[in-house]
């Protein structure tokens, strides 16, 4: 390897100016897509995992799920009901069963209306404690709801801003679904955007304003002993199957540990990332073909130059080195620019998403090994794309090449 041949290669690339940049576009796009999407995916994963981190390992989440049989729309998910709750309470090892409702309601203050998530606070004292504990709720001011409160709400931290043209203060009345509620507390800014924008109200009030009778979105089970959580989980599954007369594998409900919840989301994110990486790889392939094309054209255009170099002593391997170095450099520069664009996109998108969703902690951390991999992969694509043109260049007969 003669380092000065690489210098010559870089001069050749520089000399081709705009054509070199156009050649690299495919690589820019591929690498930028790869870097930005993977970086964002990792950021999103961290952010979503953060949303779940408030859930403790001694809890199980029970939901009804779509079985997926029949035409779309025919299998609307049924809600959990009191029977399910009672069944759970009867199971050995279950300490507390907490009913959760999470809905969207209209929120009005100072003649302005918004739509917000609303979550219930159960009526029983021990269940209330489980919810406050699980959601890691901390107050900025005011007090928490207790089992005797009616027509009172706690608001997430987002409501402390004066988005409604007027500051909402403690003791003020806000209108939710047309009904008046007194604000008795504000939450501290939390790591989860849902909580920051949420309204928390007593279970009974929520059922009243939305006309909900005997149904629950989620039932949370707190087990007596965290070590038994897997045993309790299988018991619940067995009893639910028996109660609903279902065979193994036909379940229309789901019992998940918080870790499983995270795993499910991670699986989804991972499959999205695979698709994205696939698209990025196709772009890189196209970019590589672009480099091959440019290098072939370059060999044709520089036949004479190749002839000159051979006549003044260039070995075939020298010619291969020059052309491979050119295509590798196209890959390298394309990769570096792609990485910069990709990181820029990731930061931009993260800032945009965080801004749009409020408190979601969507933090982009550049993954050094990803960046090194992207750069190296780009050089590899560039080099491989140049192999055939380089061999063709080296095989030129000096006499014929000089004649062109």
């Amino acid at each position: 390897m003669k380092p000065r041949l690489i210098l010559l290669a870089s001069k050749n690339i520089k000399n081709r100016g705009i054509r070199s940049w156009l050649t690299m576009i495919g690589i820019f796009i591929g690498i930028a897509a790869l870097v930005s999407l993977i970086t964002m995916g990792q950021g999103l994963q961290t952010a979503i995992t953060g949303q779940f981190s408030t859930i403790d390992p001694d809890k199980l989440i029970i939901t009804n799920v779509d079985t997926g049989f029949g035409p779309p729309g025919s299998t609307a998910v049924e809600k959990l009901d009191d029977d399910d709750k009672e069944l759970l309470e009867s199971i050995n090892g279950v300490d507390v069963v907490v009913q959760r409702l999470v809905r969207v309601v209209s929120f009005e203050f100072n003649d302005k209306t918004e739509f917000s998530f609303v979550a219930n606070i159960p009526q029983e004292k021990d269940a209330i404690d489980v919810v406050y504990d699980a959601l890691n709720i901390e107050l900025e001011e005011g007090r928490l709801l207790d089992q005797n409160d009616r027509r009172k709400v706690i608001l997430g931290n987002d409501y402390t801003s004066d988005d409604f043209g007027k500051e909402i203060r403690l003791g003020k009345t806000v209108t939710i679904q047309g009904e008046d509620f007194e604000v008795i507390g504000f939450l501290k800014k939390a790591g989860t955007f849902i909580l920051n924008g949420a309204i928390i109200m007593p279970d009974k009030d929520l059922r009243d304003i939305l006309n909900i009778d005997d149904e629950y979105d989620i039932l949370i089970v707190q087990v007596k002993d965290a070590k038994e959580v897997d045993d309790v989980k299988s018991t619940i599954e067995r009893k639910f199957r028996k109660d609903r007369d279902l065979d193994l594998g036909e379940e229309d409900f789901s019992v998940q540990t918080p870790q499983q919840g995270i795993q499910t989301i991670n699986t989804v994110l991972l499959s999205i990332q695979f698709v994205i990486i696939g698209i990025a790889l196709i772009s890189l392939l196209v970019g590589g073909i672009g480099i091959t094309n440019t290098m072939y054209t370059s060999v044709l255009e520089r036949r004479k130059e190749i002839g000159i170099m051979k006549s003044i002593g260039a070995k075939n391997s020298d010619i291969i080195t020059i052309f491979l170095a050119e295509s590798a450099l196209l890959g390298l520069v394309g990769g570096i620019v792609g990485i910069i664009i990709g990181l820029g996109l990731a930061y931009g998108a993260a800032a945009g998403i965080s801004g749009a969703l409020g408190g979601l902690e969507f933090v982009i951390t550049p993954n050094t090994s990803l960046l090194i991999f992207a750069g190296a992969f780009s050089v590899l694509v560039g080099t491989l794309s140049g192999v055939f043109p380089a061999i063709q260049a080296s095989k030129l007969n000096p006499v014929e090449a000089l004649r062109s």
């Binding site: 000065r4 010559l8 130059e305 000159i308 006549s311 003044i312 002593g313 260039a314 075939n316 006499v399």
Partner: protein, 246 residues
């Protein structure tokens, strides 16, 4: 022109006067095109000795370009043998031959054939790069050679910033880069005006006096007669006659 004593004659046994540098023995170069055979070179035998100034003359179509390629071992013959400094070139691989050529022969072309992306100095350095010389050595030598052809103030100019005469002088400097025994000049004044052409010929003559063997391919009989000691006259791919002028 001053100091053209850069190339001191090497007084080693192998460079004793009269050493054969290039030898062609009944060399033929035939091209087969379908049923037709084009006999570009058809049985040439010649010897070029150290310190000679030889011209290969002939009208266009006489095979002199093909002969030049064979003499410069850029091409291999269909038949016959070519010896470069006593070594049969048929025994070398393409890359080995390129290396040998790079050391033994310096080329000067009619259309200069400099590499356009490179400066004058880089053009002179590149044959040394192919011979694995260090950057420092190559740079110092390129500067020295460019001074020699009076282009000391044009070293960092790109070829398109140089006149034809200047480009040909860069080509001369480049041909000297690896200190070859032979300079092979193909119509070296073909693209130059008379005055610039004379200047280039002066350089070649001085190099010859300093001990270099010069082989010039030309179609200009006056130029050949004026400068060379021996002229091979080519016609239809054969040597028609050999004349000695000095």
């Amino acid at each position: 022109m001053g100091k053209l004593n850069y190339f001191k004659p090497k007084l080693t046994l192998s460079t004793m006067p009269g050493r054969k540098l290039i030898e062609l023995k009944n060399v033929k170069k035939h091209y087969f095109m379908g049923d037709n055979v084009v006999k570009a070179v058809d049985g040439i035998t010649l010897e070029i000795k150290e310190k000679e100034f030889v011209s290969i003359m002939g009208p266009s179509g006489s095979g002199k370009s093909t002969a030049m390629n064979l003499v410069g071992s850029l091409d291999v013959p269909t038949e016959g043998k070519i010896f470069l400094d006593g070594q049969d070139i048929a025994l070398f691989t393409e890359s080995e031959l390129a290396q040998l050529r790079g050391r033994k022969i310096g080329f000067i072309f009619q259309s200069f054939n400099l590499i356009p992306n490179l400066t004058a100095k880089e053009n002179v350095m590149i044959p040394m790069t192919f011979q694995n010389q260090s950057r420092e050595f190559s740079e110092a030598k390129a500067e020295e050679l460019l001074e020699l052809v009076e282009l000391g103030d044009r070293m960092d100019h790109y070829t398109n910033q140089l006149s034809g005469g200047q480009q040909q002088r860069v080509a001369i400097a480049r041909s000297l880069a690896n200190d070859p025994d032979v300079i092979l000049a193909d119509e070296p004044t073909g693209n130059l005006d008379t005055k610039t052409g004379e200047l280039v010929m002066d350089f070649l003559k001085k190099l010859n006096k300093e001990g270099k063997t010069i082989i010039m391919v030309t179609h200009d009989p006056d130029l050949a007669k004026e400068h060379s000691s021996k002229i091979y006259w080519l016609k239809d791919g054969k040597i028609e006659k050999i004349t000695r002028t000095k």
